[in-house]
Amino acid sequence: MTMATTRRRTQGLALMLAVLLSATSLVAQAPQRIISLVPNLTESLFSMGAGPQVVAVSSFDREPEAVRTLPRVGALLDPDVERILSLRPDLVITYGSQVELKAQLARTGIAAFDYRHGGLTDALTTLRALGVRTGHAREAEALARRLEQQIAATRARVAGRPRPRTLLVFGREPGSLRNIYAVGGTGFLHDMLEAAGGRNVLADVTQESVQVTTETILARAPEVILEIRGGTDPSRADARPDTSPWQALASVPAVKQGRLVVLSGSWLTVPGPRVGDAIARFSTALHP
């Protein structure tokens, strides 16, 4: 055995030891009492195996099934700080705008994982960061990879096909053309639409959501109107909504050619672990 190989072997051992040590220290540091105030991250935590570490969630959390029995500690605008502190969390997942809550957590020495909605790539970055922070780096990495592959597969499926000019609607007053909310040119829903092989007719509007007037819809003349329905109540998500009000906009190509597609389910608008499925769902609607 030469000196070189011995050295290499010792180095290898040292490296392995270091990795092991850091891994155990990571596990030791991994939070065991997580409170999540961000529903899409709650869902991500459960799908990367961090579910058992979650001790409470926000009042808007519905997914997965397991959260329904967990204590609720308020939400975005009304976090119940007393309740949060009394549950003795070692990590609280907060939304970017919860400035006061974060200040209170900092004062009491509780760590926070801060999140803000961003684009589609941000969603995957967040997933990985969340995995590292909670001691599930490997599972999170696998999950992120799977999503990336899923998105790439969808992109490949629609590559080269004409990309229909699409209006992605996520809110409309039932039975009318009033209060129509559509996806603007930024944010994950816009990215999801583009990844699914559509062209957002509101791509030039630098907002995540736009209250869109009938005039704008007529002027932008979308070829497909993709309407996402479904609040938080799953029983309502299946109710077939009435698309007949759209007929008033007869010159819109989507109306003329009957390309008014309604997709049900609030999961379609969540930048969580099902984002790959949602993009695939969009793409089958756009490219049947």
Partner: protein, 333 residues
């Protein structure tokens, strides 16, 4: 000059101004359109984008603005006279918060009922408005024969606060996006999309207008006090009832059509009084007409200022109306 002689001139000028606004407003917007194409019968309707923008997106909207503006301005005039308070608005007596509660409930519970092409939110808000009217009326009428304007005012203000609390309660437990949508409703929106909502509101507004049409002389005398009015032959209780109910009906129908657009009921009547004087035979018709023109103009600003993004029309009227209201307050003090 006598009122009767000035009336034709005032009516002619305000009608002309309003008509001009209503004719001009649909020709402008966020998208340039060709009027020649709009009225070209050779082009098939389904492929005439310009005509659709004109007739579907803009015309119903302009007409909705005219109706809502006229109704709120007229209701403002009537209530200012009835309550003998220059700062009274169509929303002082609880009608709008009743409407807002109705709209909030319809939004939070995703009501999908429609009636004659009118969707759930306007239906619910009109119901709420009429409920609030009934409560306030019941309280004010229970005191003695006729209406007590003091009770009317106090009941209205209290009901506003109470309904606001209920709205906040529903909002607090509602889904985030629904809560946001309800807040948006409060800012006013005239993009009605079709003529159906107008057809629903029109009969109610005409009924209110017919009731208001007999009021001006009585309103003149009521502003001088109930006793003076009674001594000059006004049936005070009947006039008060008619004033309150017609103003509430107009407000309820207007709010269900376009949301509680603020400040119109106070800016327009006062501007009109500055020009034509205090006689209600002039103030009421002129305010009704110019209220229509004012809201249509504000809505033109709302839909073009940041197009294709819309500025809620209530923000435009409030930005103009807020400073005006303060000026008025200081001037009266």
């Amino acid at each position: 000059m006598m009122v009767r002689q000035r009336l034709p001139l005032v009516l002619a000028v305000s009608s002309l101004a309003t008509l001009a606004t209503i004719v001009w407003a649909p020709t402008v917007g966020s998208t340039p359109i060709s009027l020649a194409r709009v009225f070209d019968p050779a082009i098939d309707w389904a492929s005439n984008v310009d005509a659709q923008i004109f007739f579907v997106a803009r015309l119903p909207r302009v007409l909705a603005g005219a109706l809502v503006g006229a109704a709120l301005a007229a209701a403002g005039v009537v209530l200012q006279a009835l309550l003998r308070n220059p700062l009274a608005t169509p929303f002082t007596l609880g009608v709008s918060s009743g409407a807002a509660l109705g709209a909030m409930l319809a939004t939070a519970f995703h009501l999908e009922a429609t009636l004659l092409g009118i969707s759930a939110v306007p239906l619910a808000s009109f119901t709420g408005a009429m409920l609030a009217t009934a409560i306030v009326y019941g309280l004010a009428a229970s005191q003695r024969r006729g209406l007590s304007t003091n009770v009317l005012l106090l009941a209205g203000v209290t009901l506003n606060a109470f309904f606001s609390a209920l709205i906040l309660f529903v909002q607090y437990f509602a889904d985030m996006t629904d809560a946001l949508r309800a807040v948006r409703w409060l800012m006013g929106d005239l993009d009605v999309g079709t003529l159906a909502p107008l057809a629903g509101a029109l009969p109610l507004l005409l009924l209110a207008a017919a009731a208001m049409a007999v009021l001006p002389r009585a309103l003149n005398l009521l502003t001088m006090g109930d006793e003076v009015a009674a001594s000059r032959g006004v049936d005070v209780h009947r006039a008060q009832r008619l004033a309150f109910l017609s103003a509430s009906l107009a407000t309820g129908a207007a709010v269900s059509l376009g949301g509680p657009v603020g400040f119109i009921g106070i800016i327009v009547p006062h501007l009109v009084r500055l020009i034509v004087g205090a006689d209600h035979r002039l103030v009421l018709p002129a305010s009704t007409l110019l209220g229509a023109a004012f809201l249509v103009l504000c809505d033109v600003v709302a839909r073009t200022l940041l197009a294709p993004v819309e500025v809620p029309v209530g923000i435009i009227t409030a930005v103009i109306g807020g400073p005006f209201f303060l000026w008025l307050l200081v001037r009266h003090a």
